[in-house]
């Protein structure tokens, strides 16, 4: 999947990945996609929940050998 920006949260635990995601999304423009790399399983629930709460689009998720990639599209 193509992304406009990448955020590395590997090795970080709650609430750091979602906190950093929220901050990073402020830098993006509407329509751009952010890729978040994480190793904490919590991101699987947190990223879609964050999108629902903030009205952004959850594009998808990939998992490979313990590393989770999450894609979020800025719609607002």
């Amino acid at each position: 999947m193509k992304a406009d920006a990448t955020l590395d949260c590997v090795g970080l635990y709650c609430p750091m990945p979602i906190h950093q995601t929220a901050n990073k999304m402020k830098e993006l423009k509407t329509g751009q996609v952010l890729e978040v790399l994480a190793s904490d399983e919590g991101i699987k629930e947190d990223a879609p929940a964050w999108c629902r709460a903030t009205g952004n689009e959850f594009v998808g998720m990939e998992e490979k050998g313990g590393e989770i990639k999450v894609y979020i599209k800025k719609t607002k």
Binding site: C14, P15, T54
Partner: protein
């Protein structure tokens, strides 16, 4: 209008403060209006670390001498062991790159979390607003 969250921090234990800041930062990250109300021993969490605390009366002076407070000084509710347990917990937290209570407090501030100090507890302990980190 944004959803609101208010956390009441009643304890000056490090573990409980970490949990409270964790929730506050999470809430602020999803766009909630978060405020934290610090009362009784919870006031220790937001006490400024530096300088002596001025207060009236021998009992209040004693209390504030014994009960220094500040995010850096918070003890664990379990296995504190005169600071040894806390030191070890700090090591474990660093190991997984988890922020300290002070760092979490700064993060909460930066995310727009409002800190409120209980005026009743402040009055009883003889401390003014200047003794605390508020925003």
């Amino acid at each position: 209008m944004a959803e609101k969250m208010t956390l009441i921090v009643f304890s000056g234990d490090m573990d409980k403060a970490l949990a409270a800041f964790n929730l506050a930062i999470g809430g602020a990250s999803i766009g909630m209006e978060v405020s934290m109300f610090f009362t009784f021993w919870g006031l220790n969490v937001i006490k400024k670390n530096e300088g002596p605390l001025k207060s009236k009366g021998i009992m209040r002076k004693m209390l504030n001498f014994m009960n220094r407070g500040g995010a850096k000084r918070l003890g664990l509710s379990k296995f504190h062991m005169f600071g040894m347990g806390k030191w070890m917990m700090g090591k474990l937290m660093k190991d997984v790159r988890f922020p300290s209570a002070q760092e979490l407090m700064t993060m909460a501030h930066q995310s727009g979390v409002k800190f409120i100090a209980c005026t009743t507890s402040m009055g009883m302990m003889g401390l003014g607003k200047e003794a605390f980190i508020l925003k």
